[in-house]
Amino acid sequence: MVMWLADPFEALGELQRALDSFRESNWLQSTPSGTGPYPPLNVFRKGDDFVVVTEVPGIKKSDLEVQVKENTIRIAGAKSVEYSDNASLHRRERSAGRFDRTVTIPVQIDADRVKAEYRDGILALFLARAEEDKPRSIKIA
């Protein structure tokens, strides 16, 4: 892609502009089974497959639950914010609580080939597109 050949300082700017243009599309429909829009998701295409990336800073790996079924993914967990005893609070911007989000991806996913990675507060789900869902080229007779 030409987009990434630009100078390294420009690359992030390009990515940010590209992300802006995909705001407020209703590509991911919320489903009644989940509650709330946390965590916010970014979806990328990588070849035939999809990558779902979300920022969940402060959540331990063990407190995260990811489920995949057919073409829905569920991300649930809890975030806690703790202060040491007898601390006086100056500023409080981080929030704590539970979350449970279910989204439907508009393609079929091969649940056995889904990979999840969690590092530095970023959860990435690598969703492999189901073989039968991949577009097939048809020879014109």
Binding site: M1, W4, F9, E10, A11, L12, G13, L15, Q16, A18, L19, D20, F22, R23, S25, W27, L28, G36, P37, Y38, P39, P40, L41, N42, V43, F44, R45, K46, F50, V51, E55, V56, P57, G58, I59, K60, K61, A78, K79, S80, V81, Y83, S84, N86, A87, S88, L89, H90, R91, R92, E93, R94, S95, A96, G97, R98, F99, D120, G121, I122
Partner: protein, 132 residues
Amino acid sequence: MAKSQQLAVQQKKEVESKEEKTVPARYYLPNTDIFETDDALTLVMEVPGVEKKDISVQLENNVLRIEGRIDFSKYDGLEPVYSEYNIGHYARAFTLSEKIDQDGIGAELADGILTLTLRKAKKALPKRIVIN
């Protein structure tokens, strides 16, 4: 009580600074909690996606500057199809009202959370005064 509360999405705030950056990329303000104990001031900042090597903490003239950079090369070859949040570096500066022991700054990064522990300088420690 906090456990049962539903988490809401916090929109990222872009940095509005008097100084301009030389690079066109956007910077965001990390959500920060600050609390004080008897001997230290602790800052807890959310910097998801920033690696240890990409964080810089500077203390100069009582201004504490924190910058965390995203390694956007991880997004190489990924084509955005849907987006709910933007990705950017993090930057924030605080003017410290208290004297800090310059050598006593501890920094820790885990799960996208940067914890800075600023030990108060000896002379800034509160003195208990006993009333006779």
